[in-house]
Symmetry: C2
């Protein structure tokens, strides 16, 4: 039956089209589900507002036009950073797929921090007007957004604790635990407890307040002790319990998370 075949073809095309779009926003969807356990229809409503997707190369600064649109990281890896007058850089936090890159749209006030990609990344954009509308219609969507913003703050505060009173080993371990939980929340941790985290040791140092050399030596210790491996930009947590114990990681600040 040609008609049916034709229909099937079209359907398949539509499906695959839909699948492609859904695929691009699947981490965002996972994140939203995780933040407030949104209904599938609500998640869909948000994801459908994602416009002007684009692919950015690694190490490109993102312009944040906080007035009109919110940027969402759909895939890849990015970070918040600050520059000091002497040219040195402090990475204030990592942005993982499903994250809203910059919550400053909530307060209107553009923050002075910068954002850049660390790997090739897909960015989606949502018009603030559309998001506002959605928030008005679905209180739970609004709660999810606010929750995300609140967690963002908690992340920075936890970084203060790390830099203020944790040792190098604890800092590295804590960050790897944090990334583990955040990646897990969007389905980016494999069965073997590993996730893709393609940062250089220099970048880790910039995030943790350590020199590249010391990051390297710390990672070696951790590898030798068998708690983690880190190769080709892939982190594998070999012994989660021991790692958590060693670095005093408590995932509470990331919101509820079922840590296996």
């Amino acid at each position: 039956m040609p008609a049916l075949v034709g229909t099937r073809t079209i359907t398949t095309d539509l499906l695959s089209l839909h699948t492609a779009a859904a695929d691009a926003t699947r981490h965002l969807a996972a994140r939203l589900r995780h933040l407030e356990n949104l209904a599938p229809t609500e998640i869909d409503a948000v994801c459908r507002q994602v416009r002007r997707m684009s692919t950015m190369p690694a190490y490109e600064e993102m312009q944040k036009e906080a007035q009109r649109e919110v940027s969402v990281l759909l895939s890849g890896l990015a970070c918040h950073f600050n520059l000091m007058s002497n040219g040195r850089r402090q990475i204030a936090g990592f942005i993982v797929p499903g994250d809203i890159c910059d919550y400053s749209f909530l307060t209107g006030d553009g923050a002075k921090g910068h954002i850049m990609t660390l790997t090739t990344s897909q960015i989606g954009r949502i018009a603030i007007s559309n998001l506002t509308e959605l928030c008005d219609q679905h209180p739970r969507i609004m709660r999810a957004v606010l929750r995300g913003s609140s967690i963002e703050l908690a992340l920075v505060q936890e970084r203060v604790v790390s830099l203020g009173l944790r040792t190098a080993l604890e800092r590295v371990g804590h960050l790897l635990c944090e990334m583990y939980v955040r990646m897990d929340a969007v389905g980016l941790v494999s069965d073997s407890n590993s996730y893709h985290f393609p940062v250089t040791q220099a970048e880790l140092g910039e995030a943790l307040g350590l020199s590249t050399v010391h990051v390297n030596r710390t990672l070696q210790v951790m590898r030798k002790s068998g708690v983690i491996t880190m190769r080709n930009g892939t982190v594998t947590i070999e012994d989660l319990d021991r790692l958590r114990a060693e670095c005093g990681f408590d995932p509470a600040y990331l919101g509820t998370s079922r840590l296996h």
Copy 2:
């Protein structure tokens, strides 16, 4: 004329009453003016909502009932802090008069950080419902609140930079500059460029990620070089330009501030 005298007396009483209330909230008023240049009537509208004022002793943890009320520090000094499992404490930021103690009411999500007073302090409370109403009526009040929240985030991020890549001297200097600008914004800096900041060196250490001993030695260096003095809990900036230069302080992150 007895009547006139009587009237005058009453008027005076009312005036002094009003003055007393206005006096309690004067730092809040100054802060609001500074945040968004609110009209006197708007400022008054906010200040009149301040209820259940109370005086707290030093070193008392503040319960934050984020659901119903917002706490405002009217006078004194307080701080945000986090505890690690080993009992050590990280001060995440100081709270000065006029500050809303905890912006987590904006996101509903109670943050896990703690708040405590560092000196005897006056706390005022505003019912969230009343504040919301005011924000709806006066967009500029809402902007002021959001602006405050945004600055709060900037403060934490700047602390990350301090802990991540500033030396002890820069950390101390930067904090003293920050406090100078924040105190100045609420009229708490005297003509001689000094302000009251009654923290122990141990507490400074907890905020800056330094040991008490090293804070002490760093302060001595700064005193001997003549940029600051710090006695009896009073900080005097002797040479602001030099201090700023030495610690790379740029007040931009605190919002606009006319730094003399």
